[in-house]
């Protein structure tokens, strides 16, 4: 039996100690009519060799970033992950441990979380960060709920240049609490009109670099929020923070983001790692776990989960959030990644991203394709094609290129020829040139 080590002799001895004859007797409390007696109608059990072959067969059906040149980003990126990251997070002491509720037995993990919090706060230019959230989208939704709780206001303003899926998740969370969502439209891919921000507004949410890769005017967004007494929330790609002035320098109250680019696989979108950083004055309202440094009775330094009374197991219906996990393993991956790359490595990755993106912006302007906007961008831009972007994308896949994300399905007909193209540091000049050549061929 896989993973169940009992011998017949074990079972017999154990039943004798318990004082019953058969394992089935232990289920006597389950009413007869609720016992499931037939065999489950599911596939046959597989041995390990068949299991691997089955799953390998399924994985082989997918077009993945190791098979084609990858220009699809939109919030999750095909970045280089050093082998050291996988080596650390596959260690059983980390992989198979529980939440560090017993600090004496969990100092290793607790210290890495403290280091994670420190690095994320540093990247975003904020005073504090938590131990992570599920993903960028739920992190953003929780930030909005926090803003409502703090200000007592019911209107959440979000820019349409924030990731469309994030806005959908936000909408769901706000619906559950009967809060209002107002979206600022961004026909030019930048947030310009803040006239909907008023004294009923709990927060203004903006993404920078935004979903289109463009750099927003954070000062302007900040001023609009402050003038109305609303909180200022920014969603940011952590890699870009190696170069850009962080939202903390623009007096953001909360900065959230998706931590996947920091050493986590794209993995078809999960597991990811939500980042959440804020001003220190908000620390008692933060959702999720926080690790703090303290000492034991002999004065030895150590780490514990702290500010625990915010959490659901203590505060129950008055908790700051119902979240009961963090993405500890992915946060560990990010911590190892940031440690390995360090200041110089992360800058190198960000700079490589900018150079490849700038090069692609010029190189892909072929056969009537052109960049749709002239904005400053970080690692992604909108390429306007002479015809339907979804069709072009499909034609390029057999030519070895995952060309980007067609924007029509998200922003309507005016965007049906628009393709969101991402270039990470892992792209090469040769791949971009090949993309340009193939684009020329299909257009």
């Amino acid at each position: 039996m896989p993973y169940i080590p009992h011998t017949e002799a074990d079972v017999e001895a154990m039943l004798q100690t318990i004082g019953v004859n058969r394992i089935e007797d232990l289920f006597s409390e389950v009413p007869e009519n609720l016992r499931f007696s037939r065999e489950l109608n599911i596939p046959d059990a597989m041995d390990e060799s068949k299991l691997y072959a089955h799953l390998k067969g399924l994985s082989d059906q997918n077009v993945d970033a190791t098979k084609v040149s990858w220009f699809l980003g939109a919030g999750l990126y095909d970045r280089f992950v050093p082998a050291s990251v996988g080596a650390v997070i596959s260690r059983g002491e980390y992989l198979t441990s529980y939440t560090p509720y017993q600090p004496e037995f969990s100092q290793g993990y607790l210290q890495t979380i403290y280091e994670f919090q420190s690095m994320i706060a540093e990247l975003y230019g904020m005073e504090v960060a938590n131990a992570s959230m599920y993903d960028g989208s739920t992190s953003m939704a929780e930030a909005a709920v926090l803003a409502h709780g703090l200000t007592g206001r019911r209107k959440i303003v979000v820019s349409a240049s924030v990731h469309p899926h994030y806005r959908q998740v936000l909408e769901t969370y706000l619906w559950a609490q009967s809060l209002d969502l107002v979206t600022i439209s961004t026909p030019q891919a930048l947030t310009e009109d803040y006239s909907v921000v008023d004294d009923q507004t709990a927060c203004v949410i903006i993404q920078h670099p935004n979903f289109f890769g463009s750099l927003e005017d954070l000062g302007k967004a900040h001023d609009a929020a402050r003038k109305a007494g609303a909180m200022f929330i920014v969603v940011s790609d952590p890699t870009s923070m190696a170069l850009l002035k962080p939202p903390g320098e623009f007096d953001a109250d909360i900065v959230v983001g998706e931590g996947q680019p920091l050493g986590v696989a794209m993995g078809f979108g999960g597991p990811l790692v939500g980042l959440f950083a804020c001003k220190r004055e908000l620390v008692r309202r933060i959702p999720g776990r926080i690790v703090g440094r303290t000492q034991d009775h002999e004065g030895r330094p150590g780490y514990v989960m702290t500010l625990r009374t915010r959490e659901q197991d203590i505060r129950r219906e008055k908790a700051t959030s119902n979240i009961c996990t963090n993405e500890a393993l992915m946060a560990l991956a990010a911590t190892v990644y940031m440690s390995a790359l360090g200041k110089n490595g992360l800058r190198k990755v960000a700079e490589g991203t900018v150079r490849n993106t700038q090069y692609a912006r010029q190189a892909l302007a072929v056969q009537g394709a052109r960049p749709k906007f002239e904005h400053k961008v970080f690692g992604e831009f909108v390429l306007e094609l002479p015809r339907d972007a979804s069709e072009v994308q499909k034609e390029l896949i057999p030519r070895g290129i995952m060309a980007g994300l067609p924007l029509g399905p998200y922003y309507g007909d005016a965007w049906k020829n628009s393709l969101l193209v991402a270039c990470t540091e892992t792209r090469t000049r040769a791949q971009i040139d090949h993309y340009a050549a193939m684009l020329k061929e299909v257009l």
Binding site: P2, D10, V20, F27, E29, V30, R35, L40, I42, A45, L51, Y52, L55, K56, L58, S84, G86, V88, R91, Y94, T96, P100, Q102, E104, F105, Q107, S118, G125, V128, S137, V169, A176, Q177, S178, L243, K245, A265, M266, G267, F268, G270, V283, R293, E298, P301, G302, T306, K318, A319, N322, T325, A328, L341, G342, N344, G352, K376, I397, M402, E425
Partner: protein, 498 residues
């Protein structure tokens, strides 16, 4: 027992040297760019560590040595199902065709990924007896929240949204239940437990009316006991138009033996990281599918993944009654790969052994400890047993002291003080993957500790004494809040207190 000879670890920020880098990164061959011209104002400083690759590995490897996992030793943590996480799961989840795919790539370029999701859904449907499964929720608590959203949408669709204001929750429940109810705008009312450890039916009858949106109930309960009146309870709630949610934290007791869908539940969340062996990872990622009955299907979060009659897996996004999206993409995909690997390892023939041996192990521990730590309710338990340490309280020994002493014996402590209704609770969930020898060694340790509790309680109060730190000052951690490292150049500017 000897003190572990490990030096006090130092922070990664105090290691390394400026200019060092620990990764062999891609060299960019695209032309150089004037970054200021391309991006505008750049940031001045970035205080990240600067270490070589070997230094980085040593830092995290040494820290792993002061951390305990299932692969280190026995983890009898009640309510958490710390079973073995099979290595084959890691191998399959590491396949490039799963790791290096993107949730927004064209659907037709990832048929194998959708097939994984569909197969997990189909197996969970059958194992738990529900009509539908969605894998969107990212953790157990997120699954609870999603279930309550479905219930809210259901009541709204019947024009009863405003009228149904309350969610009933037993006093033995996990804290996530009331927190999830509150996140859905519901008021919580607590249902008492009777002397046998069951839901107090009389009290429940008095609370059930047409203002109740739902009952959230854990079965088997957090006392590790099967709720024998569960069908009656579900019928009672349905008679006033309310819904019943099952907290699936304790699904490991039921796999292949009894199906929550047959108990009368309308919906339930799974913890795939408990029942179906995806690793806990130090507190996450969780993995929280939900199961539901037909009448809640119209409200499912998007996207919905379905197998069409021709066998092909399809994606539905245009669903007018949907609650919307609850997470950015398709849920914890690589965890679903692991769960599928595990489910198929047991398959049709072996699945029911999970619950059978989980229940056997729990009852064995309960029986072996009955003279020193009696069960809170003397019935056959399911996959976990809740014991009480009240008899040691008069000598000044609390459940927590017993747990901390276990660390000195090399075991992870069980869950303490939960459920809240059992005084000095010690909740033990051995899981099916532990051998009789391990359980015996654990029980021997517990018996020895209980003897110490009577003869030399100071050993327990001072425990643990074998780790890199002793009990930590948690009050000081809150009062002198230190939640991040601050670069020395900025320390004078840092505010002092929260």
């Amino acid at each position: 027992m000897p003190m572990k000879q490990v030096p006090q670890p130092i922070s990664i920020f105090e290691k390394g040297s400026p200019g060092r880098m620990g990764a062999n990164l891609p060299e960019t061959d695209a032309p150089e760019v004037d970054l200021q011209a391309a991006l505008g104002d750049l940031r001045d400083d970035l205080h990240l560590p600067e270490l070589g690759e070997l230094e980085v590995l040593r830092h995290f490897t040494n820290l792993s040595h002061i951390n305990y996992g299932i692969e280190t030793g026995f983890y009898p943590l009640g309510s958490c199902t710390m079973k073995y996480n099979p290595k084959i799961n890691e191998a399959t989840a590491g396949l490039p065709g799963f790791r290096a795919i993107h949730p927004m790539q064209p659907v037709e370029t990832a048929p194998g990924a959708f097939e994984v999701l569909a197969q997990v859904q189909e197996i969970l449907c059958e194992v738990a007896g529900f009509d539908e499964i969605t894998l969107q929720p990212l953790a157990g608590a997120h699954g609870e929240l999603t279930c309550l959203m479905l219930i809210k949408a259901y009541h709204d669709s019947r024009g009863e949204g405003a009228q149904r204001k309350y969610v009933l929750i037993p006093d033995s429940a996990h804290g996530t239940n009331p927190a999830s109810a509150a996140a859905c705008g519901y008021e919580v009312k607590s249902v008492p437990t009777d002397a046998h450890g069951n839901t107090d039916l009389e009290a429940l009858r008095g609370m059930v009316n047409n203002e109740v949106a739902a009952l959230m109930i854990t079965n088997p309960s957090t006392l590790g006991l099967f709720e024998p009146n569960i069908k009656e309870i579900c019928d009672l709630l349905h008679s006033v138009g309310a819904q019943v949610f099952c907290d699936g934290a304790n699904m490991n007791a039921m796999v292949g033996t009894t199906r929550p869908g047959d108990h009368g539940f309308d919906c339930m969340h799974f913890n795939l990281h408990k029942t179906f062996s995806t690793p806990h990872g130090g507190g996450g990622p969780g993995c929280g599918a939900i199961g539901l009955m037909k009448h809640l299907e119209p409200f499912l979060p998007i996207p919905v993944i379905r197998r069409a009659s021709n066998g092909k897996v399809q994606l539905e996004t245009a669903r007018p009654l949907s609650i919307g999206r609850v997470s950015a993409f398709y849920g914890q995909f690589l965890m679903e790969v692991r769960a599928l690997t595990y489910l198929l390892a047991y398959g049709r023939q072996k699945m029911r052994n999970i619950s059978r041996f989980a229940v056997l192990n729990a009852n064995y521990v309960k029986a072996r400890l009955r003279d020193v730590l009696p069960a809170a309710h003397d019935r056959h338990c399911m996959h976990e047993c809740v014991l009480t340490a009240t008899r040691y309280k008069k000598g000044g020994v609390r459940a927590l002291d017993i747990s901390k002493r276990l660390i000195d014996y090399g075991f992870h402590p069980p869950t303490n003080y939960f459920p809240l209704i059992v005084p000095e609770a010690i909740m033990i969930e051995p899981t099916e993957t532990e051998t009789k020898e391990t359980l015996d060694a654990f029980c021997d340790a517990m018996i020895a500790i209980c003897k110490e509790a009577e003869e030399s309680p100071e050993l327990l109060h001072g425990a643990p004494s074998t780790q890199i730190v002793g009990r930590l000052d948690e009050a000081a951690a809150v009062k002198n809040l230190d939640v991040r490292w601050i670069h020395p150049s900025r320390r004078e500017k840092a505010p002092v207190s929260g």
